[in-house]
Amino acid sequence: MEDHCQENRPHVFAINASPEFLNIVRELFQEEGYHVTTTNFAPNSFAQIEALQPDALIVDIAIGQEAGWDLLEQLDADADTAGIPVLVVSTDPKLLAHAEAHAARYGSHRFLEKPLDLEAMLEAIREMIGES
C-alpha cells in the first residue's frame, strides 16, 4: 500500500507481518510528512524495494519466520539495495542481537525492540536518512 502525492518527501518502506503495526507506522510517518509504503512480506517485496529505492526500510524479524531474514540477506547482497539504511525491529531481543552480531550476512543496521517507542523509531529513521 502506498500513499498518494509523493512529491519530494522522504520515503519510508515498512515490511511486517502485523497489519496493525504497519497501520501505526503509516500514520506516524505520514503525520511527519513522509511518503510511506507498507507490505506484509509479499513475494515481490524485494523487487518492490529495488524498484522504489526508498530512503529507509523498517524490516521485522521473528522466530520461525524466513521472510524477514531472507530479505535482509537479499538487500545486503544486492548492490542496488545494500546502501538503503534499514531499521530492524523485533519482539525478540535475542534475534536482534543475532542479526547485529552477524552483520556480514545481514548487513549493518539499526535495531529497536518491540513494543517500541515511536519517537525512538522516528529519530532512528531521521538519523539514518540524515535529517537530524
Binding site: 524466513e66 519482539t91 525478540d92 543475532h98
Partner: protein, 88 residues
Amino acid sequence: MSAADDASDGINDAPLDQLRHDLKTPLTTIHGRAQLLDRAIRRSPSLPEDERARMLAAIVAIEAAVRAMVPLIDSMGDAGTDGTSDAE
C-alpha cells in the same frame, strides 16, 4: 542453513519464544496506538484543559501497564530468576 534456522540455532525454546512473540505483538499495538493518541491530543488546542489532562493520564496508565507486562513476558520460563529483565 536457512537464515531463520541460523538465528534460532542455540535459542533453547522455540515454542516459548513464539508465545512471547504472540503476547508482545498485541502489546506493540496497544503501546503504539497509545502513543499516537498522545500525539493527537497534544496537537488538539481546542480540547478543554481538564479533558486533555484526563486523557493524557489515561494514556500514561496504559503505557505503564505495557511496560509492566514486557519484563514479565521476557522472564516467562526463566527458572531461578527474580522475574525482572532489561526489557522496557
